[in-house]
Amino acid sequence: MSELSARRGTRDVLSQVSFAVRPNEILGVIGPNGAGKTTLFECVAGLLPRTSGTIRGEPFFYMPDAIRPWPDQTVRWTLDLCARVWGTLPNTADLDLEHLMDQRVKSLSKGEAKRLDLAIALSAPHAILFLDEPFDGLDLRQTRQVMEVLRRSQRTLVLSIHQLRDAARVCDRFLLLDNGRSVAMLDELGDEDLEEVFLARTAAQRDR
């Protein structure tokens, strides 16, 4: 992705953001609230118009944050629909969805809805997945379970995460965004603490 820019009204919401994803890595997109993480994902997925920039490479699937698609239908119906679209049935046992299959999507708790969203994402055959806040709403045990499922999926993952501890635990590299701009690409954290790096880099960006 090179030099992606987008506007909402008169405001620049993304300014020339560039990054590359390596095969089978987990890239974390981190940044404070309003940094442009979701905007970046929606722009890349073609759901928001971009004013400039190019996207090259394999097709990918984007799962938005906290959605409850087709709320009047059951979990089974939703997953069957995805299976009909993509031709692959997601593994519901790994995401602890078996006992929820006959529940309506609108009646799911936040964590249950998040697991359904992940199952939908994993039913897509794409080698690259963009997941917006994949651990939001999950407890520690579920977060670890989902991390394990994601790692086992053997996909290239681009994750937008605002919980830096989760990000540090699961991601190989980090793209730090602030105010719609790419502040840094952190390849190696070494002994540095991600939270400290985050605070220092975003503070420096604001001081400019």
Binding site: P49, I67, R68, P69, D72, Q73, R84
Partner: protein
């Protein structure tokens, strides 16, 4: 496409909105049919009333309310719920073009409409088992009129749901459109010109045409083209992230198609009594007249003679002759306070000759026109 249709049907039946609309429509139809039968029974002892005017039209009138006030919510829901739940963001990534999604939704809405016609079919079956007469082509023509109206209203509701934030805003837009067409229908009466021509295609005017047992191809084609235009707008506005320009050529082509369709003059009289046609011998004579017939009607739009002349003579003349040009100098003026000697007269001009008549009776009008050809 089969998977899409199945999804949309599941979505349709999962919503309470559709079931409520079905129940409300059935109740409305039962009421209108009962009233129609009672009125028909009373009136037919003294006057010859056709089943089209006495039973079919008043019974099907229940769909008037259903199409205007109930079904738009079903159409809005099919689009708005996927927007608000962000399911649309997933669908946009499926290997399916947005126009196929819209086509599937529209086909399912038509299916929903067909299901809602079952109470009407039952009512007409009851009418026939009680010894009543029903003319198939004029009955189907009335249903075709309502089906075209349903298609247009659904397409507008879908476009409103796609363009507006939230289902409530979309509902306001559809209601505003309906009220706007009522206003146009009211304002354009007797005015002539482009306004009156436009008013011929408002949903209310379309229904009136079909209820007369007239199948006008310009009306059918314009309704279909406008429906296609709104479906294209729906598809264009739901393809977020892409430029609007992509669908612009299709929209422009449809606008041109609408203008062309409005010029089609073919029509069919499908009424049992052939109420929209002169007898075949008169049609043969009139069709031989090559020059355009110009008619100037000095009558106000609200004058009962005006509606008599329009419904009983002008409709038939337009179907029988190659070109009929009509002007109404009074337009929508009441003419109550105008001291004009010409008021009440109708001037006919044909091939340089002209004559004046006050009659709105079919036989006299025909004789007047023939006198100009001699």
């Amino acid at each position: 496409m089969r998977a899409l249709l199945r999804k949309e049907i599941d979505e349709l039946f999962a919503a309470r909105a559709y079931w409520l609309v079905l129940i409300a429509t059935s109740l409305l139809l039962a009421q209108s049919y009962t009233d129609a039968v009672n009125t028909y029974r009373e009136v037919s002892t003294t006057t010859a009333l056709s089943t089209l005017d006495g039973i079919v039209t008043p019974s099907a009138g229940a769909y008037d309310l259903a199409i205007m006030l109930l079904f738009p919510f079903v159409a809005i829901r099919l689009v708005a719920s996927e927007k608000s739940s962000d399911a649309l963001k997933l669908m946009l990534q499926w290997p399916v073009k947005m126009r196929l999604h819209i086509a599937a939704k529209f086909v399912v809405l038509l299916f929903a409409w067909m299901v809602s016609l079952i109470p009407f079919a039952i009512a007409m079956a009851i009418w026939m088992t009680r010894g009543g007469h029903l003319h198939a082509s004029e009955t189907l023509n009335v249903l075709l009129g309502y089906t075209l109206r349903f298609a247009l209203t659904s397409a507008i509701a879908m476009a409103a749901a796609a363009l507006m934030p939230g289902a409530a805003n979309a509902a306001v837009v559809v209601l505003a459109f309906t009220i706007g067409t009522w206003a146009l229908d009211f304002m354009a009466t007797g005015r002539g010109g482009i306004l009156q021509r436009l008013a011929e295609f408002t949903p209310a005017a379309v229904t009136r045409t079909f209820e007369r047992g007239l199948l006008r191809m310009d009306v059918v084609l314009v309704m279909l083209a406008v429906t296609a235009l709104f479906l294209t707008l729906t598809s264009m506005s739901l393809r977020r992230g892409t430029q609007w320009g992509g669908g612009a050529p299709a929209a422009a082509a449809l606008i041109i198609a609408i203008a062309l369709c409005a010029q089609v003059k073919t029509s069919f009289d499908v009424s049992d009594s052939q109420r929209n046609s002169f007898p075949p011998t008169e049609v043969a004579k009139l069709s031989r007249i090559a020059q355009p017939l110009e008619i100037t009607i000095y009558l106000a739009a609200e004058d009962p003679r005006m509606s008599d002349f329009s419904n009983n003579v002008l409709v038939k003349l337009r179907r029988a002759m190659r070109e009929v040009r009509v002007s109404t100098p009074y337009g929508a003026r009441s003419a109550l306070f105008e001291n004009d000697d010409r008021y009440g007269t109708i001037v006919y001009r044909l091939g340089g000759k002209s004559t004046v008549s006050r009659s709105t009776t079919e036989e006299i009008v025909l004789e007047t026109i023939y006198s100009l050809t001699r």
